[in-house]
């Protein structure tokens, strides 16, 4: 089933566990040429830089890259085009940050849960954030994006912890189906509670429905700055856990045998994940499927080594989010489709494809 002898050996070593590494047909030559992965990473960074430039230029008022460059280097306040470019900077930065956070969180979540289907959207994190935001609007009268951020953060964190705890009860741990179902159940329950508020208060619905779709448009610097410290802390924690995730992927028993303190390792990684998911959802609203799809795509390039999966996810997830945002700007002119919708439309077929390959049902 697996082509790489490494992953085959791992599977033999830990029967009955689903090793995330097996989800990738690890190219055997990647190990032989370590420089190749670095080259891929560099290429990904270049793609991301180009896309960030495009994100400043594309939109209802399209501008060539030359103008974008001028606006950044020789800003002329009197020039309307330059003003448009500058107005698109917060959105682009936010796309980079939120995308990176979602990608990292998704990769780490899949590693720590040993579960190829872990994702903030599926795991009920977004619903938790949504209920907290609705409560914020209705009870405390919050009405701005920078006001939602704290509610979203707390809601997301609580929901992530609850879903993971429920799904990991029992000896077989957090299997894909249990995680997905615990997430779906929490989603449904939280949305019912939310509906109690939304049905009785049209004002709340009117504010909430625009946050609910998830997107990176219309945010200003205060949103970026409020989320940044948490995001940075989470990113540092998770980027340092590559080795931990690699040993956890072997199964708890072997990881313990290798001297890993499994519970502590899980706890630290989970803290990083909660910080990342919470800040991403707080900044950009609920965005599904980025955290799910990117790590799987990344494994095709890197193989099962989390020390490479994590940085690749960090770079490639913003490519998807910014790409989705750019496509959303032009696909329905003069209106815009929020990035959260575009990522769901791109991500759902990939999810279904994963399930069909049988990785999802690997129990």
């Amino acid at each position: 089933m697996t082509q790489s002898s490494t992953t085959a050996a791992r599977q033999a070593a830990s029967p009955g566990t689903s090793v995330p590494g097996t989800a990738a047909r690890a190219p055997g030559n990647a190990r032989a040429f370590p420089g190749k992965r670095a080259a891929w990473l560099l290429a990904a960074v270049v793609v991301l830089a180009v896309l960030a430039g495009a994100s400043l230029g594309v939109g209802a008022r399209g501008l060539p890259l030359g103008t974008v460059w001028d606006a950044l280097t020789l800003f002329d306040p009197a020039n309307g085009d330059h003003a448009v470019v500058h107005a698109r900077i917060p959105r682009t930065v936010l796309g980079l940050l939120a995308g990176g956070a979602l990608g990292l969180a998704g990769a780490a979540m899949q590693g720590v849960a040993r579960n190829p289907l872990a994702d903030p959207g599926i795991m009920g994190v977004n619903a938790g954030a949504a209920l907290a935001v609705v409560t914020g609007i209705y009870v405390f009268g919050v009405g701005s994006l920078s006001g939602y951020i704290w509610f979203a953060f707390i809601g997301a964190a609580v929901a992530a912890v609850v879903v993971y705890c429920i799904a990991s009860l029992g000896r077989d741990g957090a299997t894909p189906v249990k995680l997905a179902l615990a997430g779906a159940a929490l989603n449904a329950g939280l949305y019912s509670l939310m509906s109690v508020i939304l049905v009785s208060s049209q004002d709340t619905l009117d504010k909430f429905r625009f946050w609910q779709v998830g997107g990176i448009a219309g945010r200003d610097w205060s949103v970026v700055l409020a989320g940044l410290p948490f995001l940075a802390a989470g990113a540092v924690i998770v980027l340092l856990t590559g080795r931990i995730l690699n040993s956890l992927a072997l199964g708890d028993d072997i990881a313990r045998g290798l001297g890993q303190r499994v519970g502590l390792a899980r706890g630290i990684t989970a803290l990083g994940i909660v910080l990342l998911c919470g800040s991403a959802t707080a900044m950009a609203g609920p965005i599904a499927f980025v955290g799910l799809v990117i790590p799987h795509a990344v494994r095709f390039l890197t193989g099962p080594d989390y020390r490479w999966i994590l940085p690749f996810s960090l770079v490639l997830a913003p490519v998807l989010l910014l790409g989705a945002d750019i496509v959303g700007r032009v696909v329905l002119l003069p209106g815009e489709v929020p990035a959260g919708i575009m990522t769901a439309l791109i991500g759902a077929p990939v999810f279904v494809w994963l399930v069909r390959r049988g990785k999802g049902a690997g129990l």
């Binding site: 599926i122 109690v196 049905v199 619905l205």
Partner: protein, 347 residues
């Protein structure tokens, strides 16, 4: 001997459930914010049928509001309960019910498209919901059936179905959310009530359509119940006993999906009724039973709607909640509890 005793318990408890449905039906018609006495009720119905004199106020409230509401509530409860039990039995997975595996989301997305983009209301919305549910069911079946042929049987195939449904539901959810931002706020509020599953706009037209659908579907369930019991023994055994497994399964899927779809079309996706009815009926009667599941479904919907229509307005100054909000708020903890206890059993 014990089998006989269990059969008698099943019969007694099913009769008990049926009595419960009747009592709840009359409670929701007679009691609540507007109380009607039993003689008045019969006078109103008799006069309505024979064209006799109407009681001012009471006639209108009973005939146009309370009675159709209770009738539709009973029928969608029966339909959801049956649909859920059929799915759960067929897939041998207590977690596989039409609302969990995303069929209801198909109905929701189609209905919101109809409401927001085409400005539809009433029967057109119901029709769209029906089409949407059937389309998504077909899609999920197609996605998961490739895997079934690939060797995964029973539980694995069921899990794949559940996961495919969860993925599709998430994408449809995004579509619904997007449409909500495109509508004006009043339309969005209407769509939201529908999305939660509500009996607030119950009327006799819908009741009539639903009744006709059930008049076809309920006998079909009776016919398919025999093969279903044999399918439960496992695909190989069933094939050995002369059941054409694939044909029987396809017929079951079609009947179960249509049941869920017509109920959703009549009142919106009332969450968790289909999912809860089967397990509750089994715990209550000690045996998996289709009639008991259907009756439990009706009990859940009638009781939840009574709460939504009569108690909620007292707490939320006047807002009549959609019935699905109550079933969702009560059903989610039950699903989580089921997950936890199932896990314990595995351990």
């Amino acid at each position: 001997m014990t089998g006989q005793r269990r059969g008698r318990i099943l019969l007694n408890r099913t009769a008990f459930l049926a009595t419960g449905v009747v009592i709840l039906f009359f409670v929701s018609v007679l009691l609540g914010s507007y109380t009607v006495t039993i003689p008045d009720f019969f006078t109103i119905v008799y006069n309505h049928l024979t064209g006799g004199p109407r009681i001012p106020g009471a006639s209108f409230i009973v005939m146009e509001n309370k009675l159709p509401r209770a009738v539709i509530g009973t029928m969608i409860g029966l339909a959801f309960g049956l649909a859920g039990a059929l799915f759960q039995t067929m897939l041998r997975n207590p977690l596989a019910s039409p609302d969990i595996i995303g069929i209801s989301y198909g109905a929701s997305a189609a209905a919101v498209v109809a409401i927001v983009i085409f400005g539809a209301s009433g029967a057109v919305v119901s029709g769209a919901a029906l089409v949407g549910a059937l389309a998504v069911a077909g899609l999920i079946y197609a996605i998961s059936s490739g895997g079934i042929r690939g060797g995964g049987r029973g539980n694995a195939a069921g899990n794949r179905l559940v996961l495919a449904g969860v993925g599709i539901a998430a994408a449809l959810h995004a579509v619904v959310n997007f449409l909500m931002t495109r509508a004006d706020i009043r339309t969005a509020a209407d769509a939201l009530v529908w999305l939660n599953g509500s009996l607030n706009s119950a009327n006799w037209d819908r009741a009539g359509i639903l009744f006709l659908a059930l008049a076809v579907l309920l006998p079909a369930v009776g016919v398919i119940a025999g093969p279903l019991r044999i399918l439960e023994l496992g695909d190989d055994t069933a094939a050995g006993l002369g059941i054409r497994v694939n044909a029987a399964r396809l017929a079951l899927v079609i009947i179960a999906v249509t049941l869920a779809a017509v109920a959703t079309a009549a009142a919106g996706p009332v969450s968790f009724v289909a999912f809860l009815a089967g397990p509750i009926a089994r715990r209550f009667t000690g045996k998996a039973s289709l009639p008991a599941s259907a009756l439990v479904g009706a009990v859940i919907v009638l009781a939840a709607d009574f709460l939504a229509a009569n108690l909620a307005p007292l707490v939320l100054d006047g807002t009549v909640l959609p019935v699905g909000v109550i079933t969702g708020a009560l059903g989610a903890p039950f699903l989580l509890w089921l997950l936890v206890t199932n896990n314990r059993k595995d351990a």
